[in-house]
Amino acid sequence: MGIRRRFGRLITNWVDRKPFSTSSAIVEQTGKPLNLYSAINQALHIALETDPRTYVFGEDVGFGGVFRCTTGLADRFGKKRVFNTPLCEQGILGFGIGLAAMGNRAVAEIQFADYIFPAFDQIVNEAAKFRYRSGNQFNCGGLTIRAPYGAVGHGGHYHSQSPEAFFCHVPGIKVVIPRSPRQAKGLLLSCIRDPNPVVFFEPKWLYRLSVEEVAEHDFMLPLSEAEVIREGNDITLVGWGAQLSIMEQACLEAEKDGISCELIDLRTLIPWDKDTVEASVRKTGRLLISHEAPVTGGFGAEISASIVESCFLKLEAPVSRVCGLDTPFPLVFEPFYMPTKNKILDAIKATVNY
């Protein structure tokens, strides 16, 4: 792996704000085409290589993990730094918080985001409030929780959920979701090195599907900074993770009808980049938010409320939300449940023609 150049280049490309598209590869440096899980793998290699106090652990992680994200790590860095845990999510995260409190970087994997709930208490009550309630004596800022989230087409009830909104209600942690391999690598390295506990949700649908050129060296992408990945004038679309590719398809379709869409990848959900979204909405006058999680109480609701507060007089139509339905994530009904391209396209048209 490309770790030779690791020193002296810890922070490169903090800022690249060109209007990129998700599909046209974002290439700053020459890099190899990588899929998302390999990019994560590369990031973990770099994290372990550059900081001897980094640890990676979780269920089946020592064998490479069920999605192969941790392949080769145990062989390279040893079983004392990359190891399997028993099947006990609450224990994994409690352990991670303790490890991080001793000044280490604890990268804990929860095998599926759907399994994170047994650990909910540790994240919400222990990790998020450690710094606050100890008056800054203690913190678990070195903790990063990785978990694959979202639909895969046939995952059913317990392998498809998007639980990000639960964690967005918890001051003290950050929530980050990447949309592509390059983003995943840069953001994950930022999360691991961020002095706050971070929940990093990985779009499992894209693990193999999404491929783009990823620079081999150590680079980080800024947290709490949204990215305009497509510029437009008629409507602003905000999303994150795997949903962005669906939204981009809708943007392309809408373009055929003469509607110019601006697409924003929020990247960090809390604390989120209001400025970028606001600036865009002030320009377009319309906002659509889309996520896979159920619409009620989803993070789209927060964005919508904030933007209505700050851009009320600039809005030319109600804020539109195209999200998962208010049902449990279904097995056979997944195509109905999902915020598909056509649903988004309809909502774009309805908003623009309001």
Binding site: Q90, G91, F333
Partner: protein
């Protein structure tokens, strides 16, 4: 390894009947199917206990029961193999966990209890459901997400339920079903109808914190709960000893008694479950650790061969297979011929194929079902298919 431990014990003594009330040679198996003559046999290995007595190794059975066990287990085996092919043909979607290898646990447990006793398990639930009286058609319909399924096609592989037979399912999150089982047992204790709950979990789940919470609660309140650890030696891809400081799961209740059982021997399972039920009704909870083995990987996305050797799997198949054990017993007691048993296997194969064909005819659930059962009444939302012009949900 835990697996080689038993191989020495299994081969010889199981074949030797201790006493046989039969001196005459039976000729045909059809007669055996109704033959209630008592046969006395011994379980494969002795039980090991933790702070409780040990049930007797000697068990009584009959040709009828032996033939039933053989048929039921062969049916389960065939059903799971068929599910494997259906999954590979993409007719089954979602996640799918197969039970082949562990059949003796479902069958033995069922033979010791009544349908008023409750069973609750995790996601490896196809055979437990069948054992509780579910039909093949319901199984395959549910697996393929059809209306005819036991959960109306809304649950899929991991979510089988059968209320009329006390089968509380079918749960997706590792270990989460065990505290629920204690709640069921509490309900049973109130109703004073001398019934118990069997809460099943795996060796992986045995390390979940909520299991210990459940143990404490059920011991504190003397609940008639039987915690059954189906130890197939791998929690997903992790061998038990890598995940557990003490893989002696029957001892891990500390103040809760436990029994280690050869889960590949249906008679040992039956004997243990009978013992456990009596114990639980009198004294409160007990742990049964069933030493068993799954031939398939953890789920369909796990080939099951990266963390264990093929030799290990074939070794278990040769030495400990629960169906082969019964086959040998049938021969040893002259209950049926090889051909007769082969015919039974052909029959179940046909039964399974027919059920699959029938299940394929079962329609997909109505789109409106997406919204039902979220609350008591539907949520009152309208939705559309991928192409909103073609498919629209009609709300209930």
């Amino acid at each position: 390894m835990a697996l080689s431990r038993l191989s020495s014990a299994s081969g010889s003594n199981l074949l030797k009947p201790l006493t046989s009330a039969l001196s005459l040679r039976r000729s045909i198996s059809s007669a055996a199917a109704d033959d209630n003559t008592t046969i006395t046999i011994e379980t494969s290995i002795p039980f090991t206990s933790h702070v409780c007595d040990v049930p007797s190794r000697t068990v009584e059975t009959s040709p009828k029961e032996l033939m039933k066990f053989f048929r039921d287990m062969a049916l389960m085996r065939r059903m799971e193999i068929a599910a494997d092919s259906l999954y590979k043909a993409k007719l089954i979607r979602g996640f799918c966990h197969l039970y082949d290898g562990q059949e003796a646990v479902a069958i033995g447990m069922e033979a010791a209890i009544t349908k008023k006793d409750c069973i609750i398990t995790a996601y490896r639930d196809h055979c437990t459901f069948l054992g509780r009286g579910g039909t093949l058609l319901q199984v395959f319909s549910e697996l393929m997400g059809r209306q005819g399924g036991c959960s109306k096609g809304k649950g899929g592989s991991m979510h089988f339920y059968k209320k009329d037979a006390g089968f509380y399912g079918g749960h997706g999150i590792v270990g989460a079903q065990v505290p629920l089982g204690c709640g069921l047992a509490f309900g049973q204790k109130y109703s004073k109808d001398e019934t118990v709950t069997f809460a099943l979990y795996g060796d992986g789940a045995a390390n979940q914190g909520q299991l210990f919470e459940a143990l404490n609660i059920s011991a504190l309140w003397d609940l008639p709960a039987i915690l059954v650890c189906e130890n197939n030696h791998y929690g997903m891809g992790t061998a038990e000893w890598r995940a557990a400081k003490s893989p002696a799961y029957y001892k891990r209740g500390d103040y809760v008694p436990g029994l280690k059982v050869d889960g590949m021997d249906v008679f040992a399972v039956k004997q243990a479950c009978k013992f456990a039920k009596e114990h639980a009704l009198k004294n409160g909870p007990i742990i049964l650790e069933m030493d068993t083995y799954r031939y398939h990987g953890h789920s369909m996305s796990d080939p099951g061969s990266t963390y264990r050797t093929r030799d290990e799997i074939s070794g278990v198949r040769q030495e400990r297979d629960p169906i082969e054990r019964i086959r040998k017993l049938v021969f040893a007691h002259d209950i049926a011929t090889e051909k007769e048993l082969k015919d039974i296997e052909k029959e179940v194969r046909k039964e399974v194929d027919e059920a699959i064909a029938q299940a394929k005819e079962s329609p997909m659930p109505e789109p409106s079902e997406l919204f039902t059962n979220v609350y008591v009444k539907g949520y009152g939302v309208e939705s559309f298919g991928p192409d909103r012009k073609e498919v629209r949900a009609v709300l209930p």
